[in-house]
Symmetry: C2
Subunit: 153 residues, 2 copies
DNA sequence: CCTTGACCTGAAGTTTGGTTGAGGTTTTAA
DNA sequence: TTAAAACCTCAACCAAACTTCAGGTCAAGG
């Protein structure tokens, strides 16, 4: 044995340990807990003690974030997982399928934009009022409400 | 008086007119001017008067924003355009080609993520320490001087 | 025992891309 | 002429996702 002859298996983790193993900053871990994405119990001295599952949850959070899902939504998704136990394969498949769908939508939106850009690079479209880039009926979910646009010259 | 016939060609535009024609809020126009993305002159009463080109520039700004380019970068790009005259086709091609490149990179990053997600939906990867989604690099904690996940996005 | 180092809390600061509001001036149309 | 509509500035605020800081507690080692 290297270190731990008497170390209990599946020890709980301090916040510093979670930080080191997950790559998150301690402040981010606090933040996620405050936002309800992860939980901890407290020891006698009021220090956080995390179940090891927190590492898996953090991994899920990071994946979801990379797909562009906001934390509030990730939190809601995590709340559908069984409490205090590891997510099952089925849990993970459910979440990841949903996120994959959103990711696909995002990719498709960007791809459409790219195609338009492609088209318009050639034609110098921006000088024309009917350019599809200038009048994006289509792509408004990426950002902003912007419900105007038309206006005869 | 009845508007249509004697209107001077290429009149300058008030901020309200720019707002109506561009679909931006007046506050956003002020904001863009403060950030150096557009310019205006002032009339005798200190009101903004915009060259009509501002509409084309705003169109460019909106396209760039949709590709995910931050305003500061858009501002820098716009500063490479000829001042006080309309961007030429060549100008537009230069900018849009650059932005298209970035857009492509973004799409590719997201596509790679999707492929990983695809792969990992099947295998329940997140329970394994060597999952590519979970982190190509960190896994065994112990000392990651560069605790970054794959690619940032 | 005593000193670090790890941890605690709550508040405030950061960045991006704006919006909202107060208080005052200018333009316009009746 | 006069009232409304449009405009002005500056400051404060919003949301997301965190970080930093101040001031205090807890735990571990020499």
């Amino acid at each position: 044995m290297t270190t731990s002859s008497s170390r209990p298996i599946a020890r709980e983790l301090s916040v510093g340990e979670v930080a080191k193993r997950s790559g998150l900053a301690i402040s981010a871990i606090h933040f996620y807990e405050a936002k309800g994405l992860i939980t901890s119990r407290r020891n006698a001295g009021n220090q956080r003690r995390f179940h090891r599952d927190v590492l898996r949850r953090v991994a899920i959070i990071k994946v979801a974030q990379r797909t562009g899902i906001p934390l509030a939504e990730i939190r809601d998704a995590l709340h559908t997982l069984p409490e205090n136990k590891s997510p099952t394969l089925a849990d993970w498949q459910r979440l990841s399928a949903c996120w994959k769908h959103k990711l696909n939508e995002r990719i498709e939106r960007l791809s459409r934009l790219r195609d338009q850009l492609d088209h318009c690079i050639g034609c110098g479209c921006l000088s024309m009022d009917d350019c599809p880039l200038r009048n994006p009926r289509d792509t408004l979910s990426e950002q902003g409400p912007g419900p105007r646009l038309l206006d005869p010259d």
